[in-house]
Amino acid sequence: MRTTSTATRLTARCNRASGLETCGRGFASGHVCNSPGFFDLDYALLFTQTLNGLQLGLLLFLVASGLSLVFGILDFVNLAHGSLYMLGAFICASLTFLLGNFLWAVLLALPLTGVIGYVVERTIARALYTRDHLDQVLGTFGLILVIDTLTHLIWGPEGIAIPLPAWLDSQVTLAEGLVVPTYRLLIISTGLAAAGGLFWLVNYTRLGMLIRAGASNRTMVSALGIDIQTLFALVFALGAMLAGLAGMLVSPITEASIGMGNNIIITAFVVIIVGGIGSMKGAFVGALVIGLIDTLGRSFIDDFFKLFMSSDAAETSAPAVSAMLIYIIMAAILAVRPQGLFPPKVR
């Protein structure tokens, strides 16, 4: 009933504007309608899309923060970080079916993913710390292939759909016309909680102090007698847990599937480049910016283009531009401010 009132509001606008037949938001294809124009915004749609962008941004933050930590402190380019995202999702999926409860599965899967991160660190990452970035890129590229195939062998080629308990599977009505799936709100709140937890960890604990010091000047930290090996292992495991958490949160929506980490890793790299390598604040801001721009871009670029382009040209170019958008932004930032928006202060 609420959607009807929104629709009536829109159709009323369309009617008034054109006097022609009503046709909704004007994405008509092949049917004549006087498009309502960019400024007749559907505020409900805008709000929903902003929420979606926020959700994507927070998931990106979870992945990017771990990546940024590992890169900033260990100076280690880890392409296989996306594979940890995937493993977290699969482990959580199996545990959900085993335990019968999604939330308990998440709580149990988190430390398991951390352990896997620790193992990866000890076996492969450690051997690559002293090597140059190219070797790290290639080595972790090989690791992606290995982990993807192992996942195929263990869990089969299909994705796993994770059942949610009924109370998470419903919707929440925020206001007249604004209905949001409950689970999305859970993702957003978990993401914010994790961000808050990280913030507290990095700024108010001893471990956080070591992390910030390591990001600033690794050699000095080691020279001061800190057990660098353990610190690195902890940071790596923490990064793995964060990435795994993101995978667990997203899989009830889209399924845990093989290779799901391979495109989010590229977006995560874009985020940390934009935000500044080694900086949590940068990862947070960068992730939200990228998440919002990507989602809002996908939704509204074609309308935006229609303001100054023909409808056909807009429909052809919009998908291309919205896909390229975050790379254009990254290239622009790199050209102008290569160290990112909030780089950690380096001495």
Partner: protein, 393 residues
Amino acid sequence: MKRLLTAALAATMLTTPALSAEVKVGFVTTLTTGAAVIGNDMKNAVDLAIEHMGGKMGDLDLTVIYGDDGFKPETGKQATDKLVKQDDVDFVAGFIWSHVLLASRKSALDAGKFLISSNAGPSPVAGKLCHENFFSTSWQNDQTPMALGEVLNQNGVKSLYVMAPNYAAGKNMVAGVERTFKGKILGKDLTKWGADAQLDFSAELAKAKASGAEGLFVFYPGAAGGAFIKQYQQAGLKDTLPLYTVFTVDGLALPKLQKANFESVLGSRTTGHWAPSMDNPQNNRFVADFKAKYGQYPSNYAAQSYDAMFLIKSAVEAVGGDLSDQAAVRAALEAANYDSVRGSYTYGSNHMPVQNFYLLEVVADADGVWTLDVVSTVFENHVDSYAADCAMQ
């Protein structure tokens, strides 16, 4: 099926003349990536067909060699090249994806092999690019959504929002529903497809809801289908925006959806040319043995692959095992003189099946397992829309 590659390249320099007591079929499908769930279903059906045939077609020993397309056109083309050039198969069959078929068809046809598509049906192969050696045991992509458009008209649906993946088949599905649906299309979203397909449809679902359409038409095969249904349910759209699908809720998705308790799909409707419940001897044996051997209902992909094998068998037997007479093999294939699991059909001039399309519904069978059942016939002996473009008349 593993193939042994002789380690010493020198040994393979000796050519093996084509053994006349053997027929080789190359089957290209998706065996890796998340989409392998469809490929494995097809492979299972082919393995079952080999079993039912006793490993022979007529007097010839049957060998099936599988090729993996990795869900990418380029890989599929390479797999086809290998089957044609190295394994020297007599027939190339399979092909789930329209874009893989379009990329690979030249490799098979230029080498003079017969190409049998057991799923993909992009418009060019039925129209401008039709070929005397190409046959299909499935359908042309537009036909199934055209039937659905007709169903929507019959149900009085006046407006529609459309979502499909952005590749050849997705575009065909959209074109099909647009061709027959008489109401208004309020919006269209072609989402990113491929190995890293877009699986989060929140943005598009929000747009669909905001459009105020009376129905939502989607085509999302494979893993994307499950993801979509889940998000559709989570968005609570069942009462406000009814869902009409093609090839999204099928024999492959249903077991997963049932396991995860997505009750909203029970009673949902789709269209197709075959359902497991169709009553004829060939289909009864196929479905019963498939369930016994693999533990679940076959999908339409499996049914089409099973048919492809029996179509080839009928042609091989009709020429008495003499595959060198291509014209005779072709005539035998054109006759479609075999028991198809969908009942009998004929071939149009473009070698696409002329067949019935039915309205199907998701129901629970006698054991409570979710499956598809036939409700009514939508089109009888339907000819696809591109037949007139084909040069062979």
